[in-house]
């Protein structure tokens, strides 16, 4: 399978076409927008946090397939986690996307591991990490973040 086919593997295309937890929810407690200035990817995340736990994680926005699939997978993975656990997953994901890191998967990341090929496309790493940084910003009470 070519690198390109690995990047746009079935799972990614499927999440892109039918993103999970997509759309602005009726209520939320935390919100942030994530902007990738370079390509125009824009992701809005809406969190419901209760008792230090991510009760609901939704997103909206118009983005490339990588950003859409990553956000879709991230929301699935994140829902129900404590903030502490989420932070751990975020750190692992950053490691997964680090071109200097050789490890190709982390058990805790589940399906998110399918994004591993992204790190071979330097200009796309920010697409994949955008939604994560946006959730991080929302948790911290910031209203927006950019991947830079």
């Amino acid at each position: 399978m070519s690198e390109l086919n690995k990047l746009y593997k079935k799972a990614v295309l499927a999440h892109n076409k039918n993103p999970h937890n997509y759309g602005k929810p009726e209520t939320w407690t935390h919100h942030a927008e994530g902007l990738n200035a370079i390509c125009g990817d824009l992701v809005e995340v809406y969190l419901t946090i209760a008792d230090d736990r991510l009760v609901a994680v939704n997103f909206a926005g118009e983005s490339c397939a990588i950003a859409m699939a990553s956000a879709s997978m991230m929301t699935e993975l994140s829902t129900g986690l404590t903030l502490q656990d989420w932070q751990n997953r975020f750190n692992l994901f950053k490691q997964l996307m680090d071109p200097n890191n050789e490890q190709v998967s982390y058990d805790e990341l589940g399906e998110v591991n399918t994004l591993i090929t992204v790190k071979k496309f330097p200009s796309r790493i920010k697409s994949a990490t955008l939604c994560w940084y946006a959730v991080d910003a929302a948790i911290k009470g910031q209203s927006s973040t950019t991947t830079e």
């Binding site: 390109l4 390509c39 125009g40 990817d41 824009l42 490339c64 397939a65 496309f121």
Partner: protein, 400 residues
């Protein structure tokens, strides 16, 4: 056309021949430009203007000859009216912070257009913040053309300056700048034209346009990175305060006071990009040898061909369909984000740009986050356009 002169085009990407359609971002350079750069570093490597030794004399001569080549390219009255800058961005900022800043006060207006590149928006926003002036915008229509119906009100007694792009980098639209300049001048309003995307494609004549300032981006007209020109009418350049302080721009310095040098030295503080300026002169000579009429003609042939070829891609929508445009094509394809298209066709050797192309307001107008942009130069071929189209079809297939 002259394709063999551009060594950067003779390479492969992902095992496919490079199809370089990102010329509006930066062009490839002909061998003559690389030779001029290397010749400076190998045979005339010295600082300019201040030396009596031979290398310094010949380096100075090469640099000033380059200024002369550029003056001829844009038909400036004298090479003394040309200031070497890093690129269009520096040119616009320089004019905003010297000429315009000394003329505006709170409540005054600066007029730009909806088609501007960020580099012709943000410097004015910064100036407005500094002075309390207001930014006004000539609107655009669906075709990506300027709407001039209200021009008479937009150019009013509060308007202190107008700055308009000659050719849009995002849509290719060629603006009627001569008409705009005449309208502004009828009310004594000076005008800057952002020529970043014009000089690579069309014959520019600053005297015929009668613009007050004109900016040229060297790296977009086949010259080196970090090179560019700001043309200004000599009466403006003489009267303007200087920009950077430093060496070369002064004729006498004491701690109490300083006497500025004559134009253009007054605006060229510090050691300039000597190799860049010399290389840019070589680019101008190259273009004049090829002939700007020939380049413009070839551009239009490519434009017609590409417009037709792209229109046959199902689901592809061209953004910007001005009657008068250069071979720049912004487009979107149903169901695939521009960013994904860019990555996929890169794997077929095709280099295009995706995103907002530093013109966010244009895409806000269209309600889009961005587009794919294929921007052609005279050295591109019809076959390359065909490869672009094929690669787009493959991208679509992948997302089916």
């Amino acid at each position: 056309m002259m394709r063999h002169e551009f060594p950067g085009l003779q390479q492969q990407v992902h095992g496919k021949p490079l199809v370089y359609l990102d010329n509006a971002a930066t062009a490839q350079r002909p061998q003559a430009v690389l030779d001029a750069i290397n010749n400076y570093y190998l045979k005339h490597n010295a600082n300019i203007h201040r030396g009596v030794h031979s290398l310094s004399e010949s380096a100075t001569e090469l640099y000033e000859q380059a200024r002369n080549s550029l003056a001829r390219l844009i038909n400036a009255p004298s090479e003394k009216d040309l200031i070497f800058v890093r690129g269009c961005t520096e040119g616009v900022n320089l004019v905003a912070q010297t000429f315009v800043r000394s003329r505006v006060k709170a409540g005054d207006e600066i007029l730009i257009s909806h088609l501007e590149h960020h580099s012709n928006i943000v410097p004015w926003q910064i100036l407005c913040e500094q002075t309390g002036a207001k930014l006004k915008v000539i609107p655009m229509n669906q075709q990506g053309e300027l709407v001039l119906d209200d021009l008479d009100q937009l150019l009013n007694e509060r308007t202190k300056f107008m700055s308009v792009v000659h050719v849009s980098n995002a849509l290719g639209t060629i603006n009627p700048v001569k008409k705009l300049i005449a309208a502004a001048h009828a009310k004594d309003i000076p005008v800057l034209i952002d020529g970043a995307q014009a000089t690579p494609h069309i014959k520019v004549d600053v005297q015929d346009l009668d613009c007050d300032f004109y900016t040229v981006s060297g790296h977009k007209m086949y010259g080196p990175t970090g090179s560019g020109i700001l043309y200004g009418k000599s009466e403006h350049l003489s009267a303007m305060p200087p920009y950077h302080g430093g060496g070369e721009m002064i004729s006498k310095v004491t701690f109490e006071s300083t006497v500025y040098n004559a134009v253009p030295a007054k605006f060229e503080a510090g050691t300039p990009n000597i190799a860049g300026g010399i290389g840019l002169g070589a680019a101008a000579e190259f273009m004049m040898t090829v002939g700007m009429d020939k380049i413009a003609e070839r551009d239009q042939v490519l434009k017609v061909y590409a417009e037709q070829a792209l229109s046959e891609v199902p689901g592809l929508r061209l953004v910007g369909t001005a009657t008068n445009k250069s071979p720049v094509f912004s487009f979107v394809i149903d169901g695939i984000h521009a960013h994904d298209i860019g990555t996929i066709i890169d794997h077929h050797g095709v280099a295009i740009r995706t995103g907002h192309h530093c013109t966010m307001p244009i895409f806000q107008f269209y309600g889009l986050a961005g587009s794919c942009r294929a921007s052609l130069a005279f050295y591109n071929t019809e076959q390359e356009v065909d490869v672009l189209v094929e690669s787009l079809l493959k991208a679509k297939a992948m997302f089916q």
